[in-house]
Symmetry: C2
Subunit: 455 residues, 2 copies
């Protein structure tokens, strides 16, 4: 029976016999014994093993090089060394799979670019193992957050014939062969029409919220934008809750609670992984997470926020005035310098926001809101939706969207319409915030970006 | 403050005031008062409300027709009626959104075909609300199962350049315009090469298992098969765990435990939804779930299973002999009639299985396994993977797969290879099993099938 190293390292007492299996990180040989550091990816830490010369399997010790898979059976005993509580005194060792001398992760200090080129081996490196364990832990926290609050998880479709905002650049999904004449008409395609990869599950999510009350989606979304930045990927995961009988205020309540919940979870349940980010990636990380965890949120209208920014006298790369979309530098100023707490901005000018947001009585602003945190700015964006059929139709006409394409979306306003609200959170954005990692490619197992779809 | 009907109905005591919001299912008027049944989708049950004529909002009572959104405030009191413990005596009612007379869900007894054509309203029907709550609950159970066992959740890519089995029909993902000459070469496409929608996350999952030990995927997968059956959809969700240092036996242990866990969860935590399936969809449902929950699994090799089937004297539509793939009728005979318990068949002939399964010492069979349950047959399928580089290469050559395309998959066998195993479970198949629903289109929020991609 194999014990995960994570379990062995938090053992309450000495144990014998115990078997761990994993991959060699380092080995040092003396005349009479060898020290081995073994990692199995269940946690950041290795377990140290002492193998005396002559025990069963020791003949293979020179083949137990960095990256080799081995098994160790022995006694789990208190370690006299610093930094670890337990170590294993081996009674036998087993070579399971060798790692030849060209194993690419022999040495430390590889560049992120090189590690992206070996994404299939990258999770074996400490920093990336920690990143993907954190990714998993955050995903579990997302599901737990909504489950505890009686939200129904909905799998909105990935392949879609509609476009959430009438604006996103989309990937086409097709089985047509471009070299054949039938490819000239998408009526001949698999679905009998043009089909795309979804850019958001929101509109479909609204159909479920207006039946089941509180729902959320958590799934992959896509953008065919040809932009090579550290913040954009062609494939990323989004979380999109939607609540019936909920207004902007309830929406902000949930978004702020959600942000704090995930940050708290990262702070409390990281099992050592957070340390590596704070030490090697971003020395201000834990402090920044505590800032969001501990300080109450400040709410400010867009109009007030713009006044604050203008009055600040601060020189921004993008000039700020009423009617512009806030840039990351503006958002960061508000949360980091002005309010010095996490900040929620609400009621944006209707011109900068999509058609489905609810028009306020001033007829100038819509019920949009963005949650801002230090270091990155916007982390969650949402809105109360326009539930009034006539106003929605007018908005759609203004955005040159056809009622025919959105007949089912309009039906939600025709039959038993109700105020409802929701938000979207980019999962990778959240991960970059809780790990400090600066490139979205490094928090996605196999990142897809323009010109890059390997593995 | 709104109370979900689910919470109100399981209240410990009378409450006042309480506000519920939801949609009218039925209304009956007397001279002095009205009875309203309200549903908010938080659970199957409606809450009954009594509204006396003359209370605030009562003037709108005739507009509170089936499907209308309303709010009710009043006292939660013990109900004298049968079948419900609590009801609300309204002190005020509020019309929130009307439902005109053409509301399609006025009457009961619509066909599944009609309801599929209004998939955006379908979750408002009792049976479909129950189905999608069950879908959510099962998804939560999947995540909980693996989280409790220290598995890391991995988001394997949706857009991929590789094909898991060298066999599946795949959707192409493209930004090329077929009417333009550059569409003749996929080197001009977004990723600089042909890209597809994934048919399985297994191979990428293996890269993470050989770094983090125990991992699972749970995400959408795709098949571009032009088959219009009740069991096939073009887009469906799969669960694929993978364990390092695990053999076929450990794999069967996990698959059986997983199956029982989900069935137990459906039996125990369905909050009334299971009843509607058992009454209106499949009267043997609960009995069949208890069968899987209570009876220990039987394990049988493929060779023995074929002998049993041949000796049974039973006439099958598909004749059975060593070397054929088992059909659903064979699988069901084994679990329902012969063993009369859930059954796991292992060690299949290598000819009927994909290239990555581990060759047994007999050189005729591979370490495949299928978990069979009554009613549907195979519900989980998995295998120990071939971890020996030379044997894997020989298998690939036999399947005419190029080593160049799978260089990264081969690397896992070159560097620190280890025995590892996993399985795949179709999430919709599991849902059909726990709900009794007979058409896969009815357990997917917005189903995608050949010729059909609406909403």
């Amino acid at each position: 029976m194999r014990t995960l190293i994570k379990k062995a390292l938090c053992s309450e007492q000495a144990q014998a016999p115990i078997t761990v299996k994993g991959w060699v990180r380092t080995r040092r040989d003396s005349k009479d014994f060898s020290f081995l550091e073994i990692n199995d990816g269940s946690c950041l830490a290795n377990i140290q093993c002492i193998a005396d010369a002559g025990i069963p399997g020791y003949d293979d010790i020179t083949k137990m090089t960095t990256g080799a898979a081995i098994g160790i059976t022995g006694q789990l005993v208190e370690s006299p060394g610093k930094g670890q509580k337990w170590e294993i005194h081996a009674t036998s060792v087993e070579l399971i799979g060798e790692a030849p001398a060209d194993y690419p992760l022999q040495k430390k200090g590889h560049t992120p670019e090189f590690l992206r080129s070996i994404a299939h081996l990258r999770p074996r490196a400490n920093l990336y193992g920690a990143t993907f364990r954190m990714r998993s832990r955050m995903a579990q926290a997302v599901h737990r957050f909504f489950d505890e609050r009686d939200f129904t998880y909905v799998h909105t479709p990935i392949i879609t014939a509609s476009d959430c905002e009438g604006a996103g650049e989309m990937f086409r999904v097709s089985t047509l062969d471009a070299s054949k004449p039938e490819a000239q008409s998408y009526e001949n395609d698999f679905f009998g029409k043009s089909a795309y990869l979804t850019v958001s599950g929101q509109l479909e999510g609204e159909t479920f919220a207006t039946a089941l009350s509180n729902i959320y989606t958590f799934g992959p979304t896509f953008r065919a934008e040809n932009s090579n930045t550290t913040r954009h990927a062609s494939e990323f995961w989004m979380i999109e809750p939607e609540m019936a009988f909920c207004d902007l205020e309830g929406d902000m309540d949930l978004a702020e609670e959600f942000t704090k919940y995930l940050v708290d979870d990262a702070l409390q349940n990281n099992e050592g992984d957070l340390d590596i980010f704070n030490r090697f990636v971003d020395k201000g990380l834990i402090e920044r997470l505590q800032f969001v965890s501990e300080k109450p949120f400040q709410r400010v209208s867009y109009t007030e926020a713009v006044e604050i920014l203008v009055k600040s006298g601060k020189k921004f790369d993008y000039p700020v005035e009423y009617g512009v979309n806030l840039q990351s530098e503006h958002e960061r100023f508000l949360t980091e310098e002005h309010f010095q707490c996490p900040t929620t901005v609400y009621n944006y000018p209707k011109e900068v926001k999509p058609f489905y947001m609810r028009l306020n009585d001033d007829e100038k602003t819509v019920t949009a809101m963005d949650v801002l945190v230090p270091g990155i700015g916007e982390i969650v964006g949402g809105a109360q939706r326009e539930e009034r059929l006539d106003v929605l139709k007018a908005n759609m006409a203004h955005h040159q969207l056809s009622e025919e394409d959105y007949w089912w979306y309009l039906d939600l306003r025709k039959y038993g319409t109700c105020p409802h609200a929701g938000f979207g959170a980019g999962f990778e954005r959240l991960l970059m915030f809780v790990t400090g990692m600066k490139n979205i490619r490094d928090v996605i197992p196999f990142a897809r970006t323009p010109g890059s779809c390997d593995f």
